[in-house]
């Protein structure tokens, strides 16, 4: 245990992550109030357990892990776990993605909103990997620490999450038509 009065040190490490933690919490819970509760609980737990945090290790992975575990034990988290088993190998059933990416995706300015819906529709195990990789820009190692899964699983989930998001976008009309960008 370090100096239990290390609030300033905790604050300096934890507060800059506030916006990111909230964004991640809201993506997981899909509800503002629940996200707010999650963030508050995360900070309370992290502050309480700060003595067990080993300096020099990854604080971001540590606190994101607390948030994510708090979510998994929440009502929404538990109900998502019922429909979304986290066992590796179950993923094929969980997220069917066609073997071939069908058409070419046209990246346009108004894609953002459609992509948000596509991410929302992803099962939690895929949504969280995609968000940590592409929004938080975590390395595979960091993601594997945060989610307590092997790097191989990070890679396969991430690839499937991206493929599925692309497929959704194509289904909702963002596809290549005769070489021109077109929205159905």
């Amino acid at each position: 245990m370090r100096d239990p009065g290390g609030n300033a040190e905790f604050e300096a490490l934890a507060l800059p992550l506030f916006d990111s933690l909230y964004n991640f919490a809201h993506w997981l819970a899909q509800d503002r109030h629940e996200a707010e509760d999650l963030v508050q609980e995360t900070y309370a737990k992290a502050l309480k357990g700060f003595g067990s945090f080993r300096p020099g290790t990854n604080f971001r992975a540590w606190i994101f892990k607390i948030l994510r575990n708090t979510f998994l034990t929440s009502r929404t988290g538990l109900s998502s776990a019922h429909t979304e088993p986290l066992e590796p190998g179950d993923e094929d059933r969980l997220l069917p993605v066609s073997a071939h990416t069908p058409e070419t995706l046209v990246i346009t300015q108004d894609l953002g909103e459609a992509l948000q819906q596509a991410i929302e529709a992803l099962p939690v195990p895929f949504r969280e990997v995609l968000l940590l990789a592409d929004v938080e820009e975590m390395s595979y190692l960091e993601i594997s620490e945060t989610l307590s899964i092997p790097i191989g699983t990070v890679m396969s989930r991430l690839a499937r999450a991206r493929k599925s998001a692309r497929q959704k976008l194509i289904e909702s009309g963002y596809e290549q038509k005769k070489g021109t960008a077109a929205r159905r």
Binding site: D3, P4, G5, G6, N7, A8, E9, F10, E11, A12, L13, A14, L15, F18, D19, Y22, N23, H26, W27, R32, A35, E36, V39, Q40, Y43, A44, L47, T101, T104, L105, I107, L111, G112, E113, L115, Q116, I119, L130, L131, A133, D134, V135, E137, S139, Y140, M155, L158, A159, R162, A165, R166
Partner: protein, 250 residues
């Protein structure tokens, strides 16, 4: 390795998470495989849109205030001791941050320059250094249309010692770019052009524009959202001269 094996590695390549050796072989594969190249461009673009679209939810200011109070509600030191503690912690955090960020940024910059030099050397060592063989800029420039999401101008070379040999696609750190090869006297000069998404500007300080890496001269600059590199074993004046022509054209 067949294309399917590469396909399985595309996401990891886009995330720069493959071992250096595999990153290099993948880049070589990409330069000759339009299917994988199209796929990687899609992944990179999707990554970029996700980075923005994923920052969707903003916390309410009251929540921030509540969390701050929550942290402060566990006071351990009083008065000036607390302030001193905070100041010391800040110094430690800033110091650690600098110690970590500065060398890693220098290392990342050196890697980027080394990567650019590698592309120059690899192209020249190849049996077919360019995919579009032409000394006419009006042939070479349109060749990149549909392959790159940006466009650029190539300079008029009349009256200069340079001739255009041709162009090819290039990838550095997963970024697709244009690679042009110019000849000057008995030397070759590579020009690499990428769209700058902020990473280049962050790595390459504007005060330093010329580099020497493994006896190659490298000049780089940023203009109109594009990052240009000129690489050659030719004299620094020849590198600068080509750089000047490009700057005037763009």
């Amino acid at each position: 390795m067949n294309c399917e094996t590469w396909q399985a590695k595309l996401d990891a390549y886009a995330d720069a998470e493959l071992p250096a050796e595999t990153m290099r072989s993948m880049a070589e594969h990409l330069s000759g495989c339009p299917v994988c190249t199209a796929e990687i461009v899609q992944i990179m673009q999707l990554k970029r849109v996700t980075a923005t679209a994923g920052k969707r939810y903003t916390p309410a200011p009251e929540l921030r205030a509540r969390v701050r109070r929550q942290i402060a509600a566990k006071p351990a030191r009083g008065g000036w001791q607390w302030a001193l503690g905070l100041a010391l912690a800040a110094v430690v955090v800033i110091g650690l941050g600098l110690a970590i960020v500065l060398p890693s940024r220098t290392a990342a910059r050196d890697r980027l320059i080394a990567g650019v030099v590698d592309r120059h050397v690899t192209a020249l060592a190849s049996a077919s250094p360019v995919d579009v063989v032409s000394s006419d800029r009006h042939t070479v420039k349109p060749w990149f249309q549909g392959k790159l999401a940006f466009t650029f101008n190539l300079p008029e070379l009349a009256g200069s010692p340079f001739t255009l040999a041709g162009g090819r696609m290039v990838f550095v750190d997963g970024e697709p770019g244009a690679h042009l090869i110019y000849d000057v006297r008995k030397h070759h000069e590579s020009v690499l052009i990428f769209q700058d998404r902020g990473d280049f500007a962050r790595l390459l300080p504007s005060s330093e524009k010329e580099w020497r890496s493994r006896s190659f001269n490298v000049e780089t600059w940023n203009r109109g959202g594009l990052q240009f590199f000129v690489v050659s074993d030719a004299a620094p004046e020849d590198v600068s001269a080509l750089a000047e022509l490009l700057k005037r054209a763009n």
